[in-house]
C-alpha cells in the first residue's frame, strides 16, 4: 500500500479524503475562501502560495495566477512585445473584467473556465482550464490587490515585501536559466518597466493588504501565523450536512411535496420490490430485477421531460398528432451504484450524454465526500436525469444535485431517479431543492433507530449488485 492510501474496510480503499459538503443543508453554496497574494516580480508570491497549499494539505485548494489574465494586445503592442519592448508590468496589461468573472464564479462555487496565456505568441491561448470544486482559492500576481472589485471578494489579503535587490537577482537568474534571455536585456527591461511599475503601482497596493510578509518565503514565522489563521477560518466554515438534514427534518411520507412522483404500485412493481428487499434473493435475481425495475423508472423519468407537438404522416397517408422531445438529455450517475441505472438509460435513449460523479460516505461521520466529477461541457443547456438506486439520508443526492447546479444546470431541468427512497431523504432534497423532480419506485417506511444509520430495505444496494459485501 502506498503512503496516503486509506483502507477503510476489507473491501474499500480510498486514496484521498474527498471533498466534504460545501453547501448548507438548505442547498446553498457557502462562500469560497479567497486569499489574495500580491508583491513585486520575483518576490516569492508563488512560493508563498504553494507553501500555503502544502500546509493546508487539502486537495480542494486552487491557485489562480494573474498571468492567466494578460489582455489581448493591440497590433502595435504585439509588435513591440516581440521586440521585448512592451510594458507587461503596467496595470493596464491585465483584463480585470475577465479576472473578476472567473473569481466571482469560483467564489460562488461554480464550475468555471480559466483562460491560459501563451507567452510565445503574447496572446491568450485558445485553451482554457476547467476549474471546479475549490473550497479555497488563492489569487496571486503583481496586481492581485489592485482592482477594487476584486479586493472586495478577498477574505485575506497578503503582500509579500521582498527587498528589491533580491527580487532583481532572482529575476535575472530565472529569466536567463528558464526563459533563455541575456542578462543585459533583463536588466534593461527591469530599468525601463519593472522598477517603475513596482514603485508607481505595485508597491502602493501594500496599503490594501491585511498582512505584509517581509522577506517572502524566508519568513517562516509570518507564513506559519498566516496558515494558522486560514485553517481556523476554514474550520469555522466546515459544513456538516448529515445531522441537520436527518435530525431536524424528520417527517412522514404524507408531508412530501408533489415534486415526488412514485411509480404506480402495480403487481409487477410490488413483486419486483419484494424480491429486491428479500435478503435471501440470489445475486442473479437481484441483478435481473434491479435492471428490470430500472428500465421502468427510466421510462417514467423520461416522461417527466418536456415535449413539443409534432404532426407526422403515417404510411396510410393520414396525419398523426404526436410529440417529440424538446432538448438534449444527459444522464448523470452517482457512482458506484448509479451505474446500474445508466445501463437502463442507454438501452432506451441512444443519443443521451453521460456524466459521472463518485461520492463516498465517510465511514465515521457518514458525511458524503466527493471524489470525482466528469460532466459533458454543455450540460447547462441539457435536461438532466440524475440516477442513484437508493435515496437514504438524501445527502448523496443533494451533493449530486448541487454539483449539477454548480455546472449551470437549471434546478427545474433536473429529475432524480431512484428505485427506493426514504421519506426523510426525499424531504431533505425537497427542502433544499424544491424544483427538482424525484421519481422513485418505492417509498420505504422502514427506518432504523439511529437516524445517522438509516438503511433501506435493499440493504447496501451496490454491494448486493456487484458482490462486494465485506
Amino acid at each position: 500500500m502506498s503512503s496516503g492510501a486509506k483502507l477503510t474496510s476489507s473491501t474499500l480503499l480510498l486514496k484521498s479524503d474527498g471533498r466534504p459538503p460545501w453547501y448548507t443543508p438548505g442547498g446553498k453554496n457557502l462562500p469560497v475562501y479567497m486569499v489574495g497574494i500580491a508583491g513585486g516580480s520575483a518576490s516569492g508570491k508563488t512560493s508563498v502560495a504553494k507553501r500555503i497549499v502544502e500546509s493546508l494539505d487539502v486537495p480542494w485548494v486552487v491557485i489562480v495566477s494573474m498571468d492567466s489574465f494578460y489582455r489581448q494586445l493591440l497590433p502595435e503592442e504585439s509588435k513591440r512585445a516581440f521586440e521585448s519592448n512592451h510594458d507587461f508590468d503596467h496595470p493596464t496589461s491585465f483584463d480585470y473584467a475577465t479576472a473578476m468573472r472567473v473569481l466571482k464564479d469560483l467564489k460562488e462555487g461554480k464550475a468555471t473556465r480559466v483562460p491560459q496565456y501563451d507567452f510565445t505568441t503574447h496572446s491568450p491561448s485558445k485553451e482554457t482550464q476547467n476549474v471546479y470544486g475549490a473550497s479555497v482559492v488563492i489569487f496571486e500576481g503583481i496586481f492581485a490587490l489592485y482592482d477594487a472589485a476584486i479586493l472586495e471578494m478577498m477574505d485575506v489579503k497578503i503582500f509579500v515585501d521582498t527587498d528589491s535587490d533580491i527580487c532583481l537577482a532572482r529575476r535575472i537568474k530565472r529569466d536567463v536559466a528558464e526563459r533563455g534571455r541575456d542578462p543585459l536585456g533583463v536588466l534593461q527591461q527591469y530599468d525601463r518597466f519593472v522598477k517603475p511599475a513596482y514603485d508607481g503601482f505595485v508597491r502602493p497596493t501594500m496599503n490594501n493588504a491585511d498582512v505584509i510578509i517581509p522577506r517572502g518565503l524566508d519568513n517562516q514565522v509570518a507564513i506559519d501565523l498566516m496558515i494558522q489563521h486560514i485553517k481556523r477560518q476554514l474550520d469555522e466554515r466546515n459544513a456538516t450536512i448529515m445531522r441537520p438534514v436527518l435530525v431536524d427534518k424528520y417527517c412522514s411520507s404524507t408531508g412530501l411535496r408533489d415534486t415526488l412522483v412514485t411509480l404506480p404500485q402495480s403487481n409487477q412493481v410490488r413483486a419486483m420490490q419484494t424480491i429486491l428487499c428479500d435478503r435471501t434473493t440470489s445475486r442473479d435475481d437481484f441483478i435481473f430485477y434491479s435492471d428490470r425495475l430500472s428500465r421502468l423508472i427510466i421510462e417514467h423519468g423520461l416522461g417527466q421531460l418536456p415535449l413539443q407537438h409534432k404532426v407526422v404522416e403515417t404510411p396510410m397517408e393520414l396525419p398523426y398528432e404526436g410529440y417529440e422531445p424538446l432538448s438534449v438529455v444527459t444522464g448523470v450517475t452517482v457512482l458506484r451504484a448509479g451505474g446500474v441505472m445508466e445501463k437502463a438509460l442507454r438501452s432506451v435513449a441512444r443519443l443521451a450524454n453521460y456524466g459521472k460523479i463518485l461520492i463516498v460516505g465517510d465511514q465515521k461521520t457518514h458525511e458524503p465526500r466527493l471524489h470525482y466529477v466528469k460532466l459533458p461541457p454543455s450540460i447547462k443547456d441539457h435536461q438532466v436525469l440524475l440516477m442513484d438506486p437508493t435515496i437514504v439520508s438524501g445527502a448523496n443526492a443533494m451533493m449530486a444535485i448541487r454539483i449539477c447546479l454548480d455546472h449551470g444546470v437549471l434546478e427545474e431541468h433536473i429529475v432524480f431517479l431512484s428505485l427506493l427512497a426514504t421519506p426523510q431523504g426525499v424531504h431533505a432534497i425537497q427542502v433544499a431543492f424544491p424544483k427538482v423532480r424525484i421519481v422513485v419506485a418505492l417509498l420505504d417506511a422502514h427506518i432504523g433507530k439511529d437516524e445517522l444509520l438509516i438503511k433501506s430495505g435493499y440493504g447496501l444496494f451496490g454491494d448486493r449488485y456487484f458482490g462486494t459485501e465485506d
Binding site: R295, L305, T314, P315, M316, Y320
Partner: protein, 222 residues
C-alpha cells in the same frame, strides 16, 4: 359515442397510460419517414412497456420477506405460470420483449393466413407448449385490425385447454371495431394495447395506423 371512445371505456380493454411520452414514441413508429432502425428500436421500447403492463394482469399472492437489515417487508410474489404465443409473422417481433422480462419463458407459435377461397382466416401451423392448459397465455400480435386471425388463434388455444380468462392479448395498436368484436365474442378475454385508433379502411388496414408492421419491422416492404 364513437367506437374509439366505446373501446377506450371497455373494462377489459386496457390502454397503456396515455402520456405524452408514449405519444412521442408512437409518433416515431407511425411516421412514414422513420428509418427501419428507428422503427425497430422504438417498437421494441413500446413492446417492453406493453409486456410489463400485460404481466400486471397476472395474479400475485401476499408474501412477507425479511430485508438485509432484518426488518420484515410486506410484499407480493408472482403466482401462476405463463407462456407466450406469437401469431406469425409479425407477432414474433414481440417475443424478445417478453424474454427480456421473463427469462427462459416458453413460447408457442401459430401461423394463420387468409384462405383465398373463403376469405376466412385459416390455421396453417401451430406448435404450443405441452402443458399450456395450466398456463396463462400472453398472445402476441402487434396489430389488431378485424381481429380475425387473433380470434382464430384463441379458438386454437382454447381447444388446447387454455382457459379464456387466462388469455391476455397484447398489441401495439387496435382498430375499435375489431377490439370490440373480440371482447364480445370472448367475454373473459383481456386486451392490452398502446393506442386505440380511429377505424379501418376498405382493405382492413388500421387508420391512421402505421402501415404493415411486419414489413416495416422485418424490412420486406415492396
Amino acid at each position: 359515442m364513437s367506437l374509439s371512445l366505446q373501446a377506450a371505456e371497455h373494462p377489459r380493454l386496457h390502454q397503456l397510460p396515455q402520456t405524452n411520452q408514449l405519444k412521442a414514441l408512437m409518433t416515431i413508429i407511425r411516421d412514414k419517414n422513420t428509418t427501419r432502425g428507428d422503427f425497430v428500436f422504438y417498437s421494441d421500447r413500446v413492446i417492453r412497456l406493453l409486456v410489463e403492463e400485460g404481466l400486471n394482469y397476472l395474479p400475485v399472492v401476499h408474501k412477507e420477506v425479511i430485508t438485509p437489515m432484518g426488518i420484515p417487508f410486506e410484499g407480493v410474489s408472482f403466482e401462476g405460470r405463463i407462456c407466450g404465443v406469437s401469431i406469425m409473422r409479425a407477432g414474433e417481433s414481440m417475443e424478445q420483449g417478453l424474454r427480456d422480462v421473463c427469462t427462459s419463458v416458453r413460447i408457442g407459435k401459430v401461423l394463420i393466413q387468409r384462405d383465398e377461397r373463403t376469405a376466412q382466416p385459416k390455421l396453417y401451423y401451430s406448435k404450443l407448449p405441452k402443458d399450456i392448459a395450466n398456463r396463462w397465455v400472453l398472445l402476441l400480435d402487434p396489430m389488431l385490425a378485424t381481429g380475425g386471425s387473433a380470434m382464430k388463434c384463441i379458438e386454437v388455444l382454447m381447444e388446447a385447454g387454455v382457459r379464456e380468462e387466462r388469455i391476455l392479448f397484447v398489441n401495439l395498436i387496435c382498430a375499435p371495431e375489431g377490439a370490440l368484436k373480440m371482447l364480445e365474442r370472448f367475454p373473459k378475454l383481456q386486451i392490452i394495447t398502446a393506442e386505440i385508433d380511429e377505424s379501418m379502411d376498405a382493405n382492413k388496414f388500421i387508420l391512421p395506423g402505421l402501415g404493415d408492421f411486419g414489413d416495416r419491422y422485418f424490412g420486406t416492404e415492396d
